[in-house]
């Protein structure tokens, strides 16, 4: 499961729109491809990559644990 990352949230929102329009989701029960993940540093963002859609974005095979702070879990 790969991700696209960016420091510009709108780039990832555009990628989500690309997938939504390409896949033709019904807009009722399924409205988007994936929501955007915000890094705890507040300046990095990520979105799941769809196997069928590519973009000029940085691709990461996985997101490190720093993206998901464990102190949220108790």
């Amino acid at each position: 499961m790969a991700y696209y990352t960016s420091t510009t949230r709108s780039e990832l929102e555009a990628y989500n729109t690309l997938v939504v329009e390409g896949e033709g989701y019904d807009g009722v029960y399924t409205t988007d491809w994936a929501s955007i993940i915000e890094h705890p540093n507040g300046s990095d963002y990520a979105i799941l990559k769809h196997d069928s859609y590519t973009a000029e974005l940085t691709e990461e095979e996985t997101l490190g644990a720093e993206w998901f702070p464990q102190n949220d879990i108790e």
Binding site: E23, D26, T30, W33, A34, P69, D72, I73
Partner: protein, 325 residues
């Protein structure tokens, strides 16, 4: 009287009952036809679901019919081939897998909505395609213990309802039938404290040999863990329940696994904390996106009341259907 054998006995018995009641009977040959029809076509025994026997659930999710007055569907499914969706209901009180597999037609099917059968319309949903759990794989219904189930991938999938569910409840009882093959901290049913926050009341695994229920109460704020040893990662279904009742002085927070008490503790707070959020199935927090379940969930129930007196009956109902232990 025409005929003989067993029908003669039935008709004679019937005639005796009619006369004893002060009535009269039509000709025995006609009575034989009527009695034979009634014996061979008994009125079907009315279906009684878990929620008919144990009413009052705040939310109830299953892939079998739980209430004989529920007329809605079980789920809404998106098929991978063209992303169209279809609601799937029940046939003979079970998920209509014939319609489900026909709709998915050799491809994968994902759950967008799991309907609440409690009557409270507290459905759990997932509108993001990549976060939707799976119910059909390459055209075949996913099953655990031979019954349909919903598969969570351990990395991105979950279902939720963001509206308050048990906030300020003074007692609650939650139950899940789930499976996993992973030894890890993972959340089966979580009603968080707050949006993106910590536990409110939940059921989770912490390893392949431990289950835990987290609870956060107010007045005073107190966090407790009811936990204990319970082998859970065989891939077969586990039946896990958790209970809290502030009116009980000691050991008022308990967790049960496959019909046995696994752990208990005392929480001295009052009122469960579940503000500004609701329920997550298969994840800890949708904001923080962690604690994903790798496994399946077949049923989940929430009562905003003490159900310890009904616990054994609820366990038996679920276990009889799923053959868990």
């Amino acid at each position: 009287m025409g005929g003989g054998g067993i029908w003669a006995k039935y008709v004679n018995d019937f005639k005796a009952r009619v006369i004893a009641d002060g009535g009269t009977m039509e000709s025995p040959s006609c009575a034989k036809t009527d009695v034979k029809f009634l014996v061979q076509n008994p009125e079907p025994v009315a279906f009684t679901g878990l929620l008919n026997d144990y009413s009052g659930a705040a939310a109830a999710y299953s892939l079998r019919l739980l209430d004989n007055t529920y007329t809605g569907d079980a789920i809404v499914v998106r098929r991978a081939s063209d992303n169209t969706t279809q609601a799937i209901g029940f046939v003979n009180n079970e998920l209509d897998t014939t319609s489900l597999e026909s709709f998915c037609s050799g491809t994968d099917g994902f759950v967008t909505t799991w309907y609440d059968q409690s009557g409270n319309d507290y459905n759990v949903t997932q509108a993001s395609a990549s976060f939707q759990p799976k119910i059909v794989s390459s055209g075949s219904t996913i099953r655990t213990n031979s019954k349909p189930t919903i598969e969570f991938n351990g990395t991105s999938t979950y279902l939720f309802n963001a509206n308050n569910l048990v906030d300020d409840a003074t007692s609650a009882f939650i139950t899940t039938a789930f499976s996993t093959t992973r030894s890890a901290l993972q959340y089966v049913l979580e009603m968080p404290r707050d949006t993106g926050g910590s536990r409110g009341f939940d059921i989770r695994t912490t390893s392949s040999t431990n289950i835990l229920s987290g609870l956060l109460t107010e007045n005073p704020t107190q966090s407790t863990n009811a936990q204990g040893t319970f082998s859970n990662a065989s891939g077969n279904l586990n039946l896990v329940m958790a209970s809290f009742d502030e009116a009980i002085a000691t050991n008022n927070h308990q967790i049960f696994g496959n019909g046995s008490l696994v752990g208990q503790t005392t929480n001295n707070g009052t009122d469960i904390h579940n503000k500004n959020t609701g329920i997550n199935l298969g994840i800890f927090s949708d904001d923080a996106r962690n604690g994903y379940l790798l496994g399946t969930i077949s049923e989940a129930f929430v009562y905003k009341s003490n159900q310890l007196a009904n616990r054994s009956g609820i366990e038996t109902n679920i276990n009889d259907y799923y053959s868990i232990y």
